[in-house]
């Protein structure tokens, strides 16, 4: 029997919980999964890397069916031609081909080396991958950050640093690989401005599991996904006892504070965010539908007056 998981038509961080809820329900009995994206109209980088993480989790938990995870979960590709082309240009299908049995006609276009896709969906498994990501983004992001977002040209290096640290969370803590994507787009709904978005996702062990050996006692009964995220993002705690650890997320926060940016991290059943004035997100949500690993969203808006 195959369990159906509908991919939201507008698939981004806002609709991710709906997706996670369907995922949690469908994976309960280990049946083969069908991710149905045929009606998808739009997906943010967060949606795309999140979908890959779901595919990764389904395979590792046997949700590809067949008990041993030998069969891949199914994925119905979007039917709308523009959506299909965008997902392909964004590098989604290049990565999805290894994770899913894809149904639908995927166009033969290359992952974008120009336009608003600053970094197509890119796998991150090891330190070498982070080097490649940082090297590539600096070539491509400088012009966009300065000319379109009005950031000081010097901010490009800070952007690369933030990206590097976000990717390193996968390498150092996830216990598995993940993906990163970076894109610039007009965010009409929220800001009526250009934004650059970094999305990083994995289906690894998540923050709670990573920090549990060193932090659970300190938090006592409060310990859980929300406490783990709070410890990591707000208190700069790391699972390593080395006093220099935990610098990465603190550095990202400093960078975002300077450029009025946002970070949100979802892990397990919780989500934490540093919320700028222009956004109405909540700082901490607990009791969300469980989803494996960690999903990070970083948004840097065009500089100037940011309206709600």
């Amino acid at each position: 029997m195959t369990r159906l998981i509908e991919v939201p038509t507008q698939f981004d961080d806002r609709s991710f919980d709906q997706f996670a809820s369907a995922f949690a329900a469908a994976t309960a009995d280990g049946e083969r999964l069908l991710f149905d994206a045929h009606a998808a109209e739009w997906a943010s980088p967060y949606g795309l890397v999140g979908l890959l993480a779901a595919g990764q989790a389904a395979r590792s938990s046997g949700g590809g069916g067949g008990g041993g995870g030998t069969e891949r979960p199914l994925l119905t590709a979007p039917t709308h031609a523009d959506v299909l082309t965008y997902w392909t240009r964004a590098g989604f299908f290049r990565e999805a081909a290894d994770l899913f049995e894809i149904h639908g006609k995927v166009p033969r276009v290359k992952a974008a080396d120009e336009s608003d896709v600053l970094l197509p969906v890119t796998p991150v498994r090891a330190a070498e991958d982070v080097h490649a990501v940082v090297s590539k983004i600096q070539e491509r992001a400088a012009a966009i950050l300065a000319s379109e977002l009005g950031l000081d040209p010097k901010a490009t290096m800070g952007f690369a640093m933030a990206l590097s640290e976000a990717c390193q969370n996968i390498v150092e803590h996830a216990g598995t690989g993940g993906w990163v994507a970076v894109q610039a787009y007009d965010w009409r709904r929220k800001l009526a401005k250009r934004v650059v978005v970094i999305a990083v996702a994995d289906a690894g062990v998540g923050f709670r599991h990573s920090l549990e050996p060193t932090q659970s006692k300190r938090f006592g009964a409060r310990w859980g996904d929300a406490a783990a995220l709070e410890a990591a993002l707000i208190q700069g705690v790391s699972r390593f006892r080395d006093p220099g650890r935990g610098q990465g997320l603190a550095g990202i926060r400093r960078y975002l504070a300077r450029w009025d940016g946002k970070i949100a991290i979802r892990s397990g059943t919780a989500r934490i965010a540093i919320v700028p004035k222009w956004d109405d997100d909540v700082p901490l949500k607990d009791g969300l539908p469980a989803f494996p690993g960690a999903q990070v969203l970083i948004i840097i808006p065009e500089q100037g007056s940011t309206k709600r």
């Binding site: 080097h131 600096q138 290096m157 690369a160 590097s164 640290e165 610098q247 550095g251």
Partner: protein, 147 residues
Amino acid sequence: MIQHIDVHAVLQESVSGIYTDLVTRPTGRVVRERIEHAMATAHGAVALARIDFTRVGCIDYSCADEIVAKLLRGRPAVLVLTGISDGHREAIEPVLAGHRMAAVIERSDGTLEAVGAPDAAVALLEELVARRLAVRTPGGTLALTLA
């Protein structure tokens, strides 16, 4: 004697000839170990080591911690950082401040500046002067006494 260490060259030898960025913990660790080895095996007594970051692209917080903070903690000699860009400082300064440490930066005009935790920065410059490794210039700035 002053020892000169070209971090870009160390990076290229350590990790890859392609990348110029100091990113990730493993990269930082390898680069630091090579620098430590070079300092430990230098001929003659090293009073001061110039760690030159010229041609290094991005430094992330992890590498700033793994290289600069840990080198300072081991402190095999007085370290002076050169070739430091604004972007490099963005990573190095908060990392040092977090450790309540300071490092000396030699600007392109030869003047010295201490960055990191304010107390540690003042103490470090005073120490350089006391050890006659640096002197006050007529302009009121500090410069190294050794060329």
